[in-house]
Symmetry: D2
Subunit: 331 residues, 4 copies
């Protein structure tokens, strides 16, 4: 196989990103763009020289396909993943697999039957700064890891309509941080404690969700982890990681559009962090597609699999249970 | 009263700092240095033109005294505080009042009887960076406060002999952070959850204590607080505060000995933070003495009182109980 | 015209960059890659679906061409520029036009005859940080500009063979900084004073060049400018600008591969700046191609022209004369 | 000798600083404060338990004196230095010795006759950051030094009346930077070129002075130095040094009152640099007094002498001549 021949499910915001990155890859080609909105599918397909359809079946019937990108709305992931798996395609799946653990398990069962390569796209693992930090941790630069501290704040809350179908802050937003925690901790967390409030927008509280939350976790050998989330940070997308160990501390800070600093009578002013995930994780999106394409074509292992998707969700559900019970949850 | 005439209890490390700051103050004078170690008392007294004794009674019998500095070992605080209070002296008391809440309450009862001015010296409240951060919070620069995040790491663990009599990490070390939390939160915490481990030195675990700990707290209206502590940070004393609110984030970072940066083939290297509390809080120690002397002489209110000492201890004990029960503690 | 149909002259390092950026642009298409090295031309042409040739005449005979990118070796620029101009093509020309002012003037005469759009590619003007800084200057954020300070250091000296044909540090390297100075100063410099030494490599001195140099310039109304250059900076490519004015200072600092910081026993270590121009100015190269393609197709003015190329060279020659005469040169 | 017994000449701003630092030193005692303004002398003397007089002769007649601090107005330095020298006192002299090279030479002749220890107080040499930077240079951390870059900007221009008697920017302000250059360069500068303008305040130009200036210098072996000065920086006192060498770059940046950063909707704002020299060089003033007292009492060499004062002035005069002649000046 010289080139991945791809079906892209989803022509929305994230589908456009993955589609563009795949199309720009010298070893990949978009064959199909599938979206219930034919206009969106057609626009995207045209841009990449692909065919458009509203029918997954039509696209999957094309024997020339070798891989699928699932970037459609979350509630369609399991169905499309199952169909793509049955079609024998390697799968790139935007996180999460699903917001229901039960349905995730169905998907995992299917995948374990078909044995198609499966990649769950936790973009932050491909952020150059986070990847360098993790490389240093794995390299032993800190010695034994003792505490992992993760900060994640969105610039502004999503529309309340989205909040209602999002699965809640823990499954929709903190799941990224929980995956970061798993990636950085030397072993799986065994205890999760969550606190949360609706401080940003009372409507979020009325929808049964929180917009400000902290989680503490502990592993079997006692390594600790703190996560802090907010649906609002007026200074931009706040994405930081700090790891402490026997030999010191590693920090990965925010990135800014420019390095310009203005020193004036009112203080020394520098850029706000990059606005949101499209800007901050632009390179991460490219790098994860590069990883997927190269791993499939060169028959190398994929760095994340369905089990990683499942475990992050298990932690998110534990945090939700902890918040509900007001007690730590043991895993 | 033109000048405070002071009895200093304690000629050890912290006694020397408070003694020197008092002696250097244009409106204060050391009259007595009291320490069970006569040699130490004499050395210090000589330096400041004061008299030395091993007997608190002898020093307190001097009718020329107007105030006392209690900087002796923690287990003598209540007794000396009581005696100073009965002698009608204004009291500057190094934190904590005592490690036992029962004895703290005895001290508070005595103080409420004598009505002498009482100052509990939480040095961090006088750190210029922390004070500026808090000033900005109180000024409304953040709008409604949503999350407070406090980092406190010592450069290296104390001797195990000290650990055993210290009252434990929460009462000995985190009490400072708990006071910072109270100082920065818009209302008192009502829930405390603690996790801790002995990761730095197993001997600390064997002594029944932890050396790495995190605490999460929540106030009645849902404001959140995270604290992270370690008895070791090989890069120096790590003292940082971060507060998030509706209008953004305030951070107070570490301080360094110099502003020198070396850009070389191996990276860009800057100073480690100031080594430990004597270096980091040098200005805070001066400022708290300035506050005490000025407030007493000018009959202004003291910024902290016995109740602040008590509440920080209540939080520390709640954290200890939470760790023991592995459950959040409600206050 | 819906799309630029491009002839690319030069399949070397910089040709590959401009070629790739043009090919990736949705409104541009590479038709020809021309290089004396047919293998290089063919490899590049194949990648972009273009035709390869060693003959400029063959490529320029194609009536489908609408624009040319001149990214060949400096000594061929004037000839190719003239031929492209006669062919009526819009021209994107890598700096410099030529190292000889006489030949530059020939080129300008030809361009003024043909009136084809001509863009001289001073990449730094398109660096996001430098562009933001300049935007702030033009916006009046500093009020009246008083001093411009430009730092430019290469990570390591070029091969001595290159040094010998480079035209010298001032024409080869500082010309970028001289263009930055012109771009940031409120008016043209009228006085130039240069000092230089061969401190990095004596062979550079033996070749009649310098590897370490500073220049001071002054405009008619007295605005000052300092430039500092070195052919070596072991910490990476050092590219900084600082502008002072009545209302403060603007600085644009170096960029780093990641935001990771390691605080350890030996200090706090952060990334070195991005290694060299390919890394640092990656976005600038994209942005200047975007500017060229869009300006030509949409008939908007190009932001730099032949006169900018000429004036930067005039300043470089003034600096050389100043160094030679050991005296300031008046323009 | 157990303690320095000091005559302080000058009860103005800088006299008060040196007086307070001397008085606070455990090995020094102020005996006399001398100032033409008796009220000022008396106020200061009272604070330190010294005697006040308007008569240098009266003070110098006291046989108990062992050292003098000359912190009076510049035009009295030579006379007081001569008298103190004749009285056999060790001398701490605020820079400059005098604004006239002729009179400096008279002073040097007198000092070489009397052989009293003489210290010229270039405060910046004792700034912890600059001292650490220089220590690293001397330690070989940069290998061979290639370029020294010095930035010095005052927060706001002095009153025009002061400008007129100040000796001009080069002798009054840049002399500090010229001393820094001498301190950091591996050998004396042999060429000086200056450019300057009155951009901040036309009245400064009318007074025959400049308020914005740059200087370039070169040593015999070709090491380069750039200095940039302004009488105004609305963001505060801008005091930075940057040294480049074979092994990298050392930078000493500005210092700030606090480490507080506010990230808000308008950007990320940190403190302006410390306001002016009293704040920035507070520790330097203490350290230079500590050096003087200790060196004299312990018979150790003083780190600067009259020749350092002379050479900085020679460079300042060379810069003035260069500006006047619009040509480099060779030394």
């Amino acid at each position: 196989m010289n080139s991945l021949e791809l079906v892209l499910f989803g022509a929305g915001r994230i589908g456009q990103i993955h589609g563009a990155n795949a199309a720009a890859h010298p070893r990949a080609k978009l064959r199909w763009v599938v979206d219930p909105n034919l206009e969106a599918a057609t626009a995207l397909a045209k841009k990449f020289g692909a065919k458009a359809t509203t029918s997954p079946e039509e696209a999957l019937a094309d024997k020339g396909n070798t891989a699928a990108i699932i970037a459609s709305s979350t509630n369609t992931h399991v169905e499309l993943l199952t169909a793509s798996s049955k079609a024998g395609l390697a799968i790139f799946c935007e996180k999460p697999i699903d917001n229901s653990l039960e349905r995730v398990d169905l998907a995992l069962a299917e995948l374990s039957k078909s044995k198609v390569p499966f990649f769950i796209a936790f973009n932050r693992r491909f952020d150059p700064s986070f990847a360098a930090l993790r490389g240093a941790v794995k390299n032993g630069d800190l010695g034994q890891v003792e505490t992992v501290i993760i900060t994640s704040r969105d610039p502004s809350p999503p529309p309340i309509a989205y909040v209602k179908v999002s699965g809640g802050l823990f499954r929709d937003m903190m799941i990224h941080d929980l995956d970061m925690a798993r990636w950085l901790l030397p072993e799986e967390p065994v205890q999760v404690f969550a606190q949360g409030s609706a401080l940003v927008d009372p409507a979020i509280g009325q929808a049964g969700d929180v917009d400000t939350a902290v989680v503490s976790m502990k592993t079997k050998s006692g390594v600790l982890c703190q996560i802090s989330n907010s649906r609002r940070a007026v200074y931009g997308y706040d994405q930081r990681i700090e790891v402490h160990g026997a030999k010191g501390m590693l920090q990965a800070g925010n990135l800014t559009p420019t390095s310009v600093v203005h020193a004036g009578a009112a203080g020394v002013v520098s850029d706000k962090p990059l606005h949101f995930f499209l800007e901050r994780y632009q390179k991460a999106y490219q790098a994860e597609m590069e990883h997927f394409v190269t791993a499939i074509l060169d028959k190398k292992p994929l760095s994340t699999g369905a089990e990683d998707g499942r475990r992050a969700l298990v932690l998110a559900e534990a945090a939700m249970k902890s918040l509900e019970k007001n007690a730590p949850v043991t895993l």
